[in-house]
């Protein structure tokens, strides 16, 4: 229970940033808001002649999730481990495949999603991303 509360507090405000920490060997998981279509290749900002190789943050390109019940849960829980672009990239998929995907994230990958939130997420995905429901 306590774990659940901590987890909820950590999200969504902090979760995205959690991976940005430096540790002994490298920094990892840093992202910043990005834009499309530019070509501006450059040496990373702190390129001193030491042994530290800083490549800068990777870019985020906000996903365009349709509104509706369950969208907030997607942003809170799915977004913890991966961008919701993972959803919008998919072709329209049958309802049972979306159920299986959410089950896989929870059971196989250990995503800490409460039952009611998981049900809302499945319902949201089935409402917006099946061959019958997905809008172009």
């Amino acid at each position: 229970m306590k774990t659940r509360i901590q987890f909820a507090l950590a999200l969504p405000g902090i979760a995205i940033l959690a991976a940005s920490c430096a540790y002994a060997q490298h920094k990892a998981g840093q992202y910043e808001s990005g834009d499309t279509g530019k070509i501006a290749r450059k040496l990373s900002r702190n390129a001193a002649t030491d042994a530290s190789y800083d490549f800068g943050p990777f870019q985020l390109y906000g996903p365009n999730l349709p509104g509706g019940n369950g969208r907030q849960e997607v942003y809170v829980y799915c977004n913890n481990c991966h961008s919701p672009i993972y959803i919008t990239m998919q072709p329209p998929l049958p309802a049972d495949i979306w159920t299986a995907e959410v089950t896989k994230m929870r059971k196989t990958f250990g995503a800490d999603i409460p039952d009611d939130a998981a049900n809302k997420i499945v319902h949201y995905l089935q409402t917006n991303f099946t061959p019958d429901t997905r809008k172009r």
């Binding site: 969504p12 060997q25 990777f58």
Partner: protein, 438 residues
Amino acid sequence: MISDPHFSHPLASRRGFIRAGVLAAAGAPALSAWCAALAQGADPKPAGSRDLPDFTGPEPNPFWNSVGPLVEEPQKVPLILLTDRPVQLETPRHYFLTTITPNEAFYVRWHLETLPNLVDLRVWRLRVEGNVEKPLELNLPELFDRYKPASVVAVNQCSGNSRSRFQPRVPGGQWGNGAMGNALWTGVRLREILDAAKIKPGSVQVQFEGLDRGRGPEGNGSNLFLKSLDLTNPVLDEAILAYAMNNRPLPVLNGFPLRLVVPGYFATYWMKSLTFIRVLDKVDDNFWMKAGYRIPATPRGTTTPDEFKTGKVPTIPIDKIPVRSFLISPDGSEKIPTGFPLLLQGVAFSGTHGIKKVEVSTDDGKSWSDARLGEDFGAYSFRTWQVAWKPRQPGRYQVAVRATDGGGNVQPDEGVWNPGGYLWNKIERQEIVAGSAA
């Protein structure tokens, strides 16, 4: 999961996770603002972002590449976005006109979101451990100087390349054909390192770990990406720990500072940002070997959705790249005047004994003629090919290309289906429209 005393991850526990988040907040203002907006239930789309073309289906993706927008990431020219976190980028078609794929255009595929932004070579080490007599800890200068450099030109192709061709479609990265690339990889022979560490009797596999890490619970596929190869696999004698890609350091998104190169094998084994080589005395049962990247143990790794649902289709870890070929130019985006002396050009490759023959058809596969093969850079490289062709009358020509590898495998005209979306190697077709020339 193998415990890892050398590498403690600050996000492994919830408490560490939150602390790390607070510490990091100062460094990422854009994200911070986005997260604050999220917390207030506002539209979480980052400011300045715009609508993206985002999917094909439920029919097969009709385009050569996937349909995402071009985006800019560190050390890269604009590439096609599949996902932003973790980063997955596809190489546009025209970069395959040459044998070598430029580093800055080379596709990108990470599994987990905590991929490296910074590597400190003062503390970076390659560690060789597990069931060995003499564990090793090597820094980059030691890899440069202690071992004789070895090179190979080899195709790196994602297991899921062309997944968007599948019918019915399967979930996963919806790659077009651009999750592949060919480079000159230079580094140290894996065999030399294993010999220096002296593998103990009773060992069965060698496991590879890099900086492809995520925020899932420890011991879980969402926490750490790990792959293993059998010690009896002859490819271990050809594998290279590459510190150079096309005579330059690897882009971080392709595995700086060191990447495992497994010639002829799918890229899942080519561990990026390698930090551990671990000799195992039992078969690796981590998620990425036991459940992920498995193919049906059937000819061509194909099955059907119904057959697979029975749960009786045995599976094996994916291994070698099947034979493939592509028409790169012309790409069908221009109308060709009748009588124009065209050069049809492309690449072919295989994980089995290289490319022996490439044939081209301009009548949808009814008749075939041999293409002229380009310079041979070894069995694991792209082989360029070309054919001169003039469309004789206006019309819509179905150009098809078919390769045969050194093992006698010919590209088939049927697709495959498996739930992972792997091993696509059907003959590719491209419509070329010829118009009147006068």
